[in-house]
Structure formats: C-alpha cells, structure tokens
Amino acid sequence: MCNQAVGLVAAELERQGIATVTIQLLRFVAERVRPPRALCVPFPHGRPLDAPGHPERQLAVIEAALALLEEREARPPLVVEWAPTVAPRRAPGMNGPGTR
C-alpha cells in the first residue's frame, strides 16, 4: 500500500510542477500504479534505503534516485531497477581514470 500511496502523491506533485522520483519496493506495483519516475530497490518493506546505521548505503540509493531526475530524454513512466554501482578501481601509479 505504501508503494501506491507515494506513487499517487508523486503524480499530484508532478501535476503541480514538481519533479519527482519515487522509491518502489515492489516492481509489479510500480508497473501498475505508474509513478512518473520509479527506482525499484531490492530491500524488504521497513527499510527502503537499505540498512539502518549505514549512511553511505542510504546515500547510494538516494544518488541512484536523483540520477533519474537527470534523465532528460526519458519518457514516462520511467521504471529503473537499482543496482549498486562499483567505483572504478585505479591501478597503482595510474593518473587517468581506472579501467578495471
């Protein structure tokens, strides 16, 4: 129910000129309700931003959500599956961006 509630609020915010991105815990609900931008996360209900007491993990989910706001070419409804990003590793002595 929570997934639907935030989706319905998101739709109203968008109608009044506020861009939204909505975390979703159940993909099938996101696909039925269709909030404008949905980030589907693999966590159980009760902890939508991953683990309590882990700010960096919470921020990783929020960053992925904010990235959807920057999807200028996307068409609604946008449904994206969250996957943790792995920072590129830099070999010792390399000055440029890591390649591995």
Partner: protein
C-alpha cells in the same frame, strides 16, 4: 527485487487481487536546472511524526490519508513511528529513521553541494491506505500546494 514472498499468504493474496490505482496519463515535470541548483523535499509514507504531533488515526477505514509537516531541521532521532501496518519489520526504522525518512542524508547532500537547498519542510504520510480516494482528491493536492508554495523543484518519495 523486493517481492511478495516477504509477506504472509493472506497478504500476498490481498496484494495480488487489489485494484491498484493506475495513474493515467502519467504527468511529467522535468527539472530544468542542474541538481546543484534545485530545492529538494522529502515525502515519506513511513508514518513518522514528531512527538508533539497527533499520530495517524488507526481507526479510519481505508487508512488515514492525512500528512504531517516535518521541519527540515528536525532531529531524525525524535521522529516517532506511527505506522499502523504489522506486515513489515518496524525495527530498522526505529533504529535509524533515515532508512525510511532520510532527513540527515538530504542535509548532507546540501552540505556537499550535490543539491542546491533542502525544502523548509518535508511531508510524512502513513502509507497503509487501501481506499485512496481522499488521498487523491484532497490530501495529495494539498501536499503539492504546500511544496509548490515552498518553491520546491523536486521531491524524493520513499515508501516503507
């Protein structure tokens, strides 16, 4: 992906048969400035309230569609769990409200310049709403008007 297996069988059956409200057409507001210049608000359905605010009404049939305003400078540790659902583990949210209401994380994003500013208030709903008619007709539009009045550019919405 979170899936229905985390719920009891009766709740799974309910969720499979529930007439989900389809948003149609899907509205779309693009952000027209870089994230570093936008004002971001938080909208949660985790049912968190401040200690001096009334809790959500558990007796309301179909679920309480109201919301509470949470000032942006509120201390996450004083938020009180007033969500009526017994179908999820409330422990993580009570241990760290940021796991569902990331008010500290938004302040950190502002501090490093990732976003331009944090809205002066965030909104807290109690998402266990099986009959969302009043949410759609009354409280969601009211919430949107409040945030628009605060000149919010974008909102992060988090269920629980």
């Amino acid at each position: 992906m979170g899936d229905l297996s985390e719920f009891s069988l009766p709740i799974q059956v309910f969720l499979r048969g529930y007439p989900w409200r389809r948003i149609d057409p899907v509205p779309w507001t693009p952000i027209v400035r870089p994230l570093a210049e936008i004002r971001l608000a938080l909208v949660s359905s985790a049912g968190l309230v401040l200690g001096d605010q009334p809790p959500f009404d558990d007796r309301m049939r179909g679920g309480d569609p109201g919301f509470r305003e949470i000032p942006a400078d509120a201390d996450a540790r004083v938020l009180v769990d007033a969500h009526r659902s017994e179908s999820f583990d409330h422990g993580p949210m009570r241990e760290d409200p940021n796991v569902a209401f990331p008010i500290d994380r938004l302040r950190e994003l502002r501090a490093v310049g990732r976003i331009g500013s944090v809205a002066p208030r965030h909104l807290s709903f109690m998402g266990s709403i099986t009959a969302p008619g009043r949410l759609i007709r009354e409280t969601a539009p009211e919430a949107a008007r409040l945030l628009a009045g605060d000149r919010v550019d974008a909102a992060l919405l988090v269920p629980v």
